[in-house]
């Protein structure tokens, strides 16, 4: 078996591992890959393939694999079946920085749609935060200047949500949250 064949097979093995994770809606972190390389690959071989990938010179078999730099790790996913948006969410969740995750999602929602980010959104897939975790985060936001724009509102049905003052004033955020929680069901 030539050296070239080994490299090709190694790239295939890595691709299969990353694609299988992507199919399960999971990004794969570099640290975990190097800690436990795909079966048939050494840590060094894996590291070489990932380096080439990060430098924009991937093996042919890895051309669909996208690289996402997180705060704590580098993440990989098959971009033909997973969006950058979802990969960013999943990598944040895996990095377990709840404040950063909530603030990032909230800022996006407030700016894009625009809408507040319901607690129940953050308690559902793929986040699965608990209400206690969210209430705890809300308290910590209030004390952390880098998250001074994040605040909590409540609709008339008692459902809470985060919003970002960078994009919405409180009154507007409250209207939008009330609409999504109550109005939308009264006007189906």
């Amino acid at each position: 078996m030539s050296e070239n064949e080994i490299k090709v097979n190694g790239a295939q093995l890595l691709y299969q591992a990353l694609r299988t994770a992507t199919e399960k809606s999971k990004t794969t972190g570099k640290k975990a890959l190097l800690r436990k390389p795909p079966v048939g690959l050494t840590k060094e071989e894996t590291s070489d393939l990932l380096k080439a990938l990060e430098h924009g010179e991937p093996a042919q078999e890895l051309k669909d694999i996208a690289v996402l730099k997180g705060r704590k790790d580098t993440w990989y996913y098959d971009s033909t079946i997973m969006t950058h948006h979802y990969a960013a969410l999943d990598s944040m969740i895996q990095e377990k920085d709840i404040l950063h995750t909530i603030a990032t999602v909230t800022r996006q929602d407030s700016k894009l749609y625009p809408k507040a980010t319901e607690f129940r959104k953050l308690m559902d897939t793929p986040f699965w935060f608990t209400e206690d975790e969210l209430l705890g985060a809300a308290a910590r936001f209030a004390a952390d200047p880098q998250y001074a724009d994040i605040d909590v509102i409540e609709a008339s049905n008692g459902q809470k949500a985060f919003y970002s003052k960078q994009s919405l004033d409180r009154h507007y955020a409250e209207y939008l949250h009330e609409w999504y929680e109550v109005g939308i069901y009264e006007n189906p």
């Binding site: 079946i81 969006t83 625009p114 129940r120 897939t125 209207y175 939308i184």
Partner: protein
């Protein structure tokens, strides 16, 4: 041979119990469905006819596209005169289920019911065999039992359209039901009742002939792979999925990994990810039971169901075992949207949980829905329950004023207050009892106000609590809370709630505002779509957008397609930049009929229908001043958020002068008189409606 069309119109006269078959060919320029039904009503029912008079008619009509396999092509229009809104003008009931398909299978594009029977009857149509059968034993029977009895008496697979006691006892707010779930409203049940017509049953063995079946199949695959989303064509899932760039809790694309049909036969079925490009997974996108009834409904969901030819299936079929011990009625039912609220169940207070936290709301709404469906009581999109609560508030202040003390005390109000659902059995019996004052509250808001204006004053009709689009009595059905003036303008075209989903399908799609705005401005120009609850003053491009909204609805209700899903303005595919395809309806018409249909020709036909319908409204009103008599919106639209100005973030408040400007711009789009809002000779003759113009002129209703 005529492709798409069955070529026949069935006319049944209930007075002399005869029936005839005619050609339906002369209605092709009205597309079909609503257009054909409205034209028949125009030609055959003189303006000013009482809705309950034998001279009024009921027209069932479908179009060439109906049941031709296009996704959601199982809709039918029933047209008649409105019993419940001001002027009692032309009104349509758009209905799903299997009626449209079965009528076409029987070989008919339309059924015209005229005259009135002295005794209860039902019409049974089975291919070329038509019978008018005695229904004395079915009078007073619930709609579901009527369906069962007629099915047993005829043939398995028959589709039965039936009224309940509400229609029989001439409640203005009454409907017809088919397949125990699908409702045709608009007060059409009362017209059935006035003719002593308990039901119409269709069965047939004929297929729809397509001019170009291969093209139709290609279009079907294209729509299912590239264009369709979920219910209301929402193209973004509620929660993040690996294939999606966006997620929005307001979307009706509720299916996602971990959310199931919890009570499915053989065990829970996970709705999973259903990325674009996988037609066989489209049916998992809409877990509507959970959307309509909350998370508690998941474990009781047997499956999703819906209309013929529909891949979305927006009806949540649920089975709640704990209901029967409480109510005596099995808790199995399928329903969707507002009907899931249980209509009159909204008057109940303090209903207690039975087996788990939160199941009280499920039981209440489910029982209310079953009752209302069985009685054929129609809610006018939430107006009836709003009216009941309006009369029951403040310790029944108004209710006491419309009843004698004896009548009031005879009602066990404590059951209501203590959450005893048997109160609903008693309430609905009183609502359908023509001798009880509460029956008057089923007359529709306009007539409720007419009867009780002395105790209601101006507040009732104009209040946010009742929530009408206009003082005509039609309920707001996606009005100014949806795309500002655009949404509100779509309502004025109709003589009931608008049922126009073209616009709300866009604003509710789940896509970010910037993407919506870019696509809509690409179609209609700058400023056509405001950000949610952050409105700007009226402009001409909004008027164009509003016209598009109603034109597409009329196209869908005529050809037929479901306007709860169409048009395909957006797509779930990011590769398309989320742009849909607005040529598909015309492509279907061409492929199915083999005729030369394109977008322009379809638009022309749609506008012909709207011009005619507007003229019919003018004729019924006896005035051509539509601006000041028909297109009047309630005061609450201007009075929301008293401390806030219109056109500021966080309010959908309207501004009086701006609304008048909106009307003017909208009238201009149709070539109507800019002051009056009525058709002109020019606007009618442009669409081959000279006969209509002549009639308006003969009655002094053409503008100078």
């Amino acid at each position: 041979m005529s492709y798409g069309w069955m070529g026949k119109l069935l006319r049944v006269n209930l007075t002399d119990k005869t029936w005839t078959v005619e050609s339906s060919d002369k209605y092709h320029k009205y597309i079909g469905g609503k257009g054909m039904a409205n034209r028949i009503m125009y030609e055959e029912v003189p303006a000013g006819t009482e809705p309950t008079a034998p001279e009024n008619k009921i027209v069932f009509a479908v179009g060439p596209n109906t049941a031709g396999s296009a996704p959601t092509s199982g809709r039918i229009t029933l047209s008649s005169l409105s019993p419940f809104t001001k002027y009692q003008s032309i009104v349509d009931a758009h209905m799903g289920g299997n009626t449209a398909m079965r009528m076409k299978n029987a070989g008919y594009d339309a059924l015209v019911i005229e005259g009135a029977s002295d005794t209860p009857v039902y019409i049974y149509v089975n291919d070329d065999n038509v019978e008018i059968r005695d229904a004395s034993d079915l009078w007073g029977v619930t709609t579901s039992k009527t369906v069962a009895a007629i099915t047993k008496a005829t043939v398995p697979g028959v589709n039965v359209v039936a009224i309940g006691k509400a229609g029989e006892n001439l409640c203005n707010l009454s409907c017809v039901m088919n397949d125990n779930a699908h409702c045709g409203g608009g007060g059409i049940g009362k017209v059935f009742g006035s003719k002593k017509l308990k039901a119409v049953a269709f069965y047939g063995t004929k297929g729809v002939q397509l001019a170009d079946p291969a093209k139709v199949q290609q279009l079907n695959n294209y729509v299912l792979s590239d264009l369709i989303g979920s219910n209301n064509n929402h193209v973004v899932p509620t929660v993040a999925q690996s294939w999606s760039e966006y997620e929005n809790s307001g979307s009706r694309w509720t299916g996602h990994p971990g959310l199931t049909w919890g009570a499915a036969e053989g065990g829970p079925v996970d709705t999973g990810e259903s990325a674009p490009g996988q037609p066989t997974l489209v049916g998992f996108r809409c877990q509507k039971a959970v959307r309509d009834r909350g998370a508690i409904a998941e474990k009781y969901t047997v499956k999703m169901t819906g209309c013929a030819m529909c891949p979305i299936h927006c009806y949540g079929a649920i089975n709640v075992p704990q209901m029967e011990p409480v109510t005596g009625v099995p808790g199995a039912h399928a329903t969707t949207c507002l009907q899931s609220s249980g209509f009159i169940a909204g008057v109940m207070q303090n209903v207690k949980d039975v087996e788990e936290e939160g199941d009280s709301a499920l039981l209440r709404s489910l029982y209310g829905a079953i009752l209302c469906d069985d009685y054929g009581l129609w809610d006018n999109y939430g107006e009836l329950v709003a009216t009941l609560n309006y009369f029951f508030k403040d310790d029944y202040k108004l209710a006491r004023q419309i009843m004698t003390e004896e009548q009031f005390n005879a009602i066990n109000w404590s059951k209501r207050e203590n959450g005893d659902l048997s109160f609903l059995d008693e309430l609905i019996e009183l609502l359908v009892d023509p001798n009880h004052p509460l029956h008057n509250l089923t007359a529709g808001a306009y007539f409720v106000d007419q009867k009780y204006h002395d105790i209601l004053g101006d507040d009732y009709l104009n209040s946010q609590a009742i929530g009408l689009w206009g003082v005509m009595g039609g309920k707001r059905h996606h009005g100014h809370e949806c795309a500002a003036q655009v949404g509100q303008l779509t309502n004025i075209i109709y003589n009931r709630d608008g049922m126009c989903h073209t616009i709300v399908n866009i604003t509710g799609s789940g896509l970010p505002y910037a993407i919506q705005k870019s696509i809509i401005e690409g179609l209609f120009g700058e400023g056509a779509l405001d950000a949610p609850a952050n409105y700007t003053p009226m402009n001409e491009n909004k008027a164009k957008f509003a016209k598009f909204g109603v034109m597409r609805q009329v196209i869908h209700d005529s050809m037929t397609l479901c306007n709860w899903v169409w048009p395909m303005t957006f797509s779930p595919r990011r590769e398309r930049g989320y742009k849909g395809d607005l040529t598909v309806e015309a492509q279907y018409m061409a492929a199915i009929t083999g005729e030369d249909w394109d977008v322009e020709k379809l638009d022309e036909a749609a506008e012909r229908i709207i011009q005619m319908q507007r003229a019919m409204t003018v004729l019924s009103a006896g005035t051509n001043d539509m601006r000041n008599n028909h297109d009047v919106i309630p005061n609450f639209s201007y009075e929301l958020n008293p401390d806030q100005a219109p056109f500021t973030p966080g309010t959908v408040k309207m501004e009086r002068e701006d609304w008048q400007k909106a009307l003017t711009m909208f009238y201009q789009q149709f070539g109507w008189d800019e002051k009056l809002g009525c058709p002109t000779r020019a606007s009618l003759e442009k669409f081959d409606l000279k006969d209509v113009a002549d009639e308006l002129e003969s009655k002094g209703l053409l503008p100078a």
